[in-house]
Amino acid sequence: MLSNDPLLAALLALLSLGIIFGALLGFASVRFRAEGNPLAEQVNGILPQTQCGQCGYPGCRPYAEAIVDGDAINKCPPGGEDTIQALADLLDVEPLPLDAEHGVEKEKLVAYIREAECIGCTKCIQACPVDAILGAAKLMHTVIADECTGCDLCVDPCPVDCIDMIPRHSGIAHWHWQLPSKTTGIIASDRAAA
């Protein structure tokens, strides 16, 4: 009968192929399911991991997930232009200038506890997203400077305002050459004075 009806034969053949491949794909999507969103993972790798929440999300990973879901890439002040550029390259979108609503790019800071004034309330320890503050109740606290991300979150909770944000890099040991400036030096005496 099939040989008499080429149209039916073709339909049947296509249908059976469709069923077979559909079943294969369905099996593969269950069997080889990717854990989490791999793109979010990559975005998270680019974000600076300050965990400061200036983007409006509680940490870098939530913001990475939001970016994958279509949020703007210019809400991260600690990352600054370099991070925006890297995100734009990864996601193939236009790099935007940093959204000033969320803050401006600042030099790298670390928290510093004026230890004589610390009353040992542990509020900053609870606020620190990366466990970079050491101390216990009624005992002095101190910041592990190498672990501090400079997120600022410990400053507000301090009841005695004994936490300062100080530049991480200062002094001659951290000095390095800057790229030559493009604008100055047209007039010889300016260059001599500089």
């Binding site: 991991q49 030559p180 047209i186």
Partner: protein, 513 residues
């Protein structure tokens, strides 16, 4: 006769070495005040062990090495510690740094010191400890702690010790002068260094523009030590370039000369090592070339470390032109000093005071015309032009792919650039940028792990609290079920009884409440 190889690139800038009359060495009258920076070498700064007001003698250690990658600082003469604090130092940044200021008393009293009678009877480790305690860092210009460099033998057998008397940078004649005046001390120092690293061969390398130094070294060297000479070209004196010239071998990328069985040392370092081992005398003085047309009596001078640059300039008859500049180091790799109050340090081989006509300020940079002269001049066979574009774009991946870190910052590319682009500054800034980016990456990964660890800990604690609450609730329910009464009804009954009792007391007369 050694087969001499050629290196790629290189330039022939005007040498101008005769200006400082190589071969004549003067002594500097003792300055009134010496300023000794804690950071005179690469690595961790030394840490002061004297207080303000202390009296010290020449050769006394005034600051000790803090880590193995650090060297001590000694008083070059007797006097009183006047101040310990921030002072301008000879650094490209022009920033201040911690220094010990020594008011000299003119009597130049020294601690008694005695060396090792027979260094061959000592173990190399003992001799290396002496070298570190004597405060010796490479005197060629980079200031790498010598004791650390001598650890090279741990990376494999060392066959050859090269004494690098190339001194290829224009104007500088400090090593030339030292080779002419103290050839036998250099040879003795080289033998000690060769013993420490276990090198069988010693090669003294001298460029052919220093015939007097070559003659002096050949006369002092004897039969077992080879003195090699080769055509003058800048930058033949770069460690890796010199090794290629003498052996035809290349130091592997990211490696050190010890990986191919070679250690290089500067002649000044060899003399300092000899003084430390044979006489027990720490590094407190060095030979410095004072040169440039703004000086009326240029020349080489042996000066105590810590001598302010202005004292040396006065000694050499500095006639400041309009917009005076004093360059620390040579015209190719040196930098202009921000303040003449800065002292000379272990790495100061030259102070150059040029007139504006002699060494004009760089012209404004023009656009790159892609001429390719820089690539022809590069002694490390890099592509300076490509690196320049990537430096502007801050493209870390491409910078690393084009081997930015093989750049020796010799300045040959900038010297040939017809557009006056300050290429070396681009590479220096880019190196700092790449190193910084790597560190930031490391920090951010670390922070991510800590953040995630904290998140999971917080979640775990919340879960535990919840579990405990559920447990207590279950226990209370079980207790109520066991006693057979409804806890809610019991609580209502208790509250009603309390209310009734309160109402009773309130009704009693004479109660003020």
């Amino acid at each position: 006769m050694r087969l001499i190889h050629d290196i790629p690139g290189g330039i022939h800038p005007p040498e101008r070495k005769a200006l400082s009359r190589p071969g004549q060495l003067r002594e500097l009258p003792l300055p009134n005040r010496l300023v000794l920076p804690m950071r005179q070498h690469i690595g961790a700064p030394a840490s002061p062990i004297v207080k303000e007001g202390d009296r010290v003698l020449g050769g006394q250690c005034i600051a000790e090495a803090t880590t193995s990658m650090s060297v001590a600082v000694h008083a070059p003469t007797s006097g009183t510690i006047a101040r310990i604090g921030a002072h301008p130092i000879a650094h490209a940044s022009g920033l201040d740094d911690l220094c010990i200021e020594l008011e000299t008393d003119g009597s130049d009293q020294w601690l008694s010191h005695s060396g090792v009678t027979d260094y061959r009877a000592q173990s190399p480790e003992t001799l290396m400890a002496h070298i570190q305690q004597a405060g010796i860092a490479g005197l060629g210009g980079a200031g790498f702690p010598t004791a650390v460099k001598l650890l090279a033998r741990e990376r494999g057998p060392i066959e050859t010790l090269i004494i690098n008397g190339t001194e290829c940078e224009p104007y500088i004649t400090a090593d030339d002068t030292l080779m002419q005046c103290e050839a036998s001390a250099i040879i003795e120092g080289a033998q000690i260094l060769a013993y420490i690293v276990g090198a069988a061969n010693i090669v003294i390398a001298v460029e052919d523009n220093k015939p007097d130094a070559l003659a002096a070294m050949t006369a002092a060297a004897g039969d077992d030590i080879e003195v090699a000479t080769f055509p003058t070209k800048y930058p033949s004196g770069g460690e890796k370039q010199l090794i290629t010239i003498l052996t035809g071998k290349e130091v592997p990328r990211g490696g050190i000369p010890a990986d191919i069985g070679i250690v290089c040392q500067n002649p000044g370092t060899a003399v300092a090592v000899r003084d430390a081992i044979v006489h027990g005398k720490p590094l407190t003085h060095r030979v410095i070339t004072l040169t440039g047309e703004a000086l009326t009596s240029p020349g080489n001078v042996r000066a105590p470390l810590g001598t302010p640059v202005e004292t040396l300039m006065e000694f050499a008859g500095f006639q400041p032109p309009m917009h005076p500049r004093v360059i620390h180091g040579g015209p190719m790799m040196g930098f202009a000093l921000a303040s003449l109050a800065a002292p000379v340090i272990k790495t100061t081989n030259c102070l150059l005071a040029p007139t504006p006509d002699e060494l004009p300020l760089p012209q404004p940079a023009q656009a790159c015309i892609r001429c390719g002269l820089c690539a022809e001049a590069c002694p490390a066979s890099l592509l300076p032009q490509q690196l320049y574009w990537y430096a502007q774009a801050k493209d870390q991946q491409q910078l690393e792919k084009h081997h930015l870190f093989d750049c020796i910052e010799c300045g040959a590319c900038a010297w040939v650039c017809p557009s006056n682009i300050p290429l070396v500054q681009y590479y220096r800034a880019s190196k700092a940028y790449v190193v910084d980016a790597r560190q930031e990456k490391q920090r951010s990964e670390n922070a991510m792990h800590r953040f995630e660890a904290r998140q999971s800990r917080v979640a775990h604690e919340a879960q535990e609290r919840e579990a405990k609450r559920a447990e207590r609730k279950a226990a209370a329910a079980a207790k109520a079920a066991a006693s057979g009464e409804d806890p809610v009804q019991a609580a209502i009954a208790r509250a009603a009884a309390r209310k009734a009792a309160q109402a009773e007391t309130a009704d009693e007369p004479g109660d003020p409440s």
